[in-house]
Amino acid sequence: MNLTLKIWRQKGPQDKGRMVDYKVNDISEHMSFLEMMDVLNEQLVNSGDEPVAFDHDCREGICGMCSLYINGQAHGPDRGITTCQLHMRMFNDGDTITIEPFRAKAFPVIKDLVIDRMSFERIQQAGGYISVNTSGNTQDANNIPISKHAADEAMDAAACIGCGACVATCKNSSAMLFVGAKVSQFALLPQGQIEAAERVLNMVAQMDLEGFGNCTNIGACEIECPKGISLDNIARMNRELMKASLK
């Protein structure tokens, strides 16, 4: 198929940036979206132009690097996938496709479609861990029985890949699904109880400091999340925050 691409080009953080049109031809429907971008870039390199910078790494939907906003949707027009798992069979010959970076105040653009997600790192550093040193003498793993239900629910929350689609999708640029997922994972497990109050207070404070907005219960984040992280996690975080604040 032949396509027109409207792509956000921005030389660096200080550059204003603009949409630029490109044409790509003979795209197979079996290609992944990023393979289509590879074709474009090969074309650009061969004609002496600078290729479009975009983040990607594992190309199997787990590393969370890829972060394209395609036709107005984080990770494009399919559900439960990252950009790298999007396939060209979702598009038709002759389509015009708009490609932008994930946009939020807390995700400044580094170049073209590459964004800076250090705000997520700082939130994790504020409390996204259990304080246990490495030693060969932690208690035996089976000494902490955890109900299958709790373990499964914690796993579902822990499945977050930190891509930022939730933020890019939210009209308030809220990171509460991302933060809620980490808070929930530990809140659901006995190992996480000891530091629960401190954790939620610190992570939420850092989230606010980074300039993310608040949740107004629209639920778009849950729909666009490639890993299906549930809105329940935000509710659980709020409950944890309430509990911690009353202490």
């Binding site: 199997e60 861990y129 490495t134 109900s147 822990a158 499945a159 190992q191």
Partner: protein, 670 residues
Amino acid sequence: MTLDSKIPKGPIKDKWTTYKDKIDLVNPANKRNIDIIVVGTGLAGGSAAATLAELGYNVKAFAYQDSPRRAHSIAAQGGINASKNYMGDGDSNYRLFYDTVKGGDYRSREANVYRLAEVSGNIIDQCVAQGVPFARDYGGLLDNRSFGGVLVSRTFYAKGQTGQQLLLGAYSAMNRQIARGKIEMFNRHEMLDVVIVDGKARGIITRNLITGEIERHSAHAVVIATGGYGNVYFLSTNAMGSNATAAWKIHKKGAYFANPCFTQIHPTCIPRSGDYQSKLTLMSESLRNDGRIWVPKNMDDAKAIQQGKLKPTEIAEENRDYFLERRYPAFGNLVPRDVASRAAKERCDAGYGVNATGEAVYLDFAFAFERYGKEQAKIHGISNPSKEKIIELGQAIIEEKYGNLFQMYEKIIAENPYETPMMIYPATHYTMGGVWVDYNLMTTVPGLYCIGEANFSDHGANRLGASALMQGLADGYFVLPYTIGDYLSDNIRTGKISTDSQEFEEAEKEVKDRITFFMNNNGSKSVDYFHKKLGKIMWDKVGMARNAEGLKEAMAEIKAIREEFWKEVKVPGDANEMNLELEKAGRVADFLELGELFAKDALDRNESCGGHFREESVELDGEQKGEAKRNDKDFAYVSAWEYKGEPSDAVLHKEELEFKDIELKTRSYK
């Protein structure tokens, strides 16, 4: 230089304990004055950085991605082995040790593997304490499953995302230390050379991938944890950015490179669909617990399938060839990866492949749906369930176990694997070879360590499933933090290492010159053009089956591509900003050297063992007829290559392998 593996004396069961008791330690006050650089922050690097910081060292950690959480360890799906024997099925440290040595086709170092088995249980304890949500049974205890090449269930898992959860565990431990200031984290930085001062590794040169700035970093010791070199094939299950540059640079500065030809071709990957393909996707080996692998028995059926005239579900049971079960009745679909891959290649080469390219076999879950469905019907007290009900109940169980894998498959192939069998084909996945290290995980350069997939040590010629995660975390959490102290105890009076020395100056200049060269070369071909060309030679001539003639051709052809690369490569853009083509150019330049050494090593090793299959070395008769033939008399050694300029001039050093606790036997899975 003679190789000294520094294996402690004494019985294998006591080596590690006795060694730890006697090792030199650095006192806590002195640790505060010692800096350690860790390059790469996947499972091995991340766990090492966190643990070293907990101990009190000042750690500087480097990752080319924007966060340690992106490292490709995250893509490991199936699980992590540990000899906990929670299932009571006869597992023990010795059995895990034995399985790993046997699975590696007797080309690994006994003492290292035993230590790995010994600390495997601690890893699970540590991860659970960190809040890693491993799968549990209804009683609240940890669940296990089985992987290829073993007869027990010792694999711990977190759905199909075990690597992700373990990496996030190490990442969270790192974050705690970053917050305390004990780890200084350098995201989006790539190491471009190591700096050696007075024969010791004392720092690295990096490029800030956002600003293009070339930086000097010094430390008392340098740890390389940058993963494997599977991307030398261009197409592999590795991440797009996975590269060998750090490992190759240290090789060029004196670290020997061991067993480069030992590469794992994983049997269960999604087949290739076209020339535009950028990478291959792995489907976890755990699928072989429940899926049965087959191709049509009759050539006519195979042809019809390839032409799209026949569906797999239309082929009757008696017309299917479950070739793994046929050839290896004892292990069936759970033979080790090298054996499964070669068997699939054999059937496809014979013309029985099942997709348009003829390079695919089926992985069928229909039996598992029925088996689990019947069990569920009993559990739920459904008497006389209909066939549909059974399948529905069974599919729910499979979905719970492998749901994300089935979804991933459907997204890529656009076929529903609940309704039709999956198609799979082998792909490059893991490299057992890597930088040579001694028992302390130190390379041949003092103060320079190498851990995780980047080193060569524990998996011999073939790695068993769910052992990569185990090794990465064993090295990072439990081995390196001890052994590095032995070296650093001599460094407590060294003081801060200056970056204003001539050695740093020279290393930086070398790095800058190379970048300037790329930016000014103005060639006519993109970096990918050369990478794809290299990949094709590697796959065709240094892939699943190798012979002397092909390997010699490969060496010559790779050399020719390398020469063309330096003349014709084109890198657009600017060096002083984010430049993805420049990053790729440096990595491919190194692959073009490594590939040739890889072929040279494969040529030297005229035996078939593990993932390395020489067509000249095959069993000619008896029960094992047609199987790979190992040659212990001539090749029971680790090949450690010393850099001498051109890869073809590399000098071979042999570390003879001694097997005292395991009898060398022909590896039989029949």
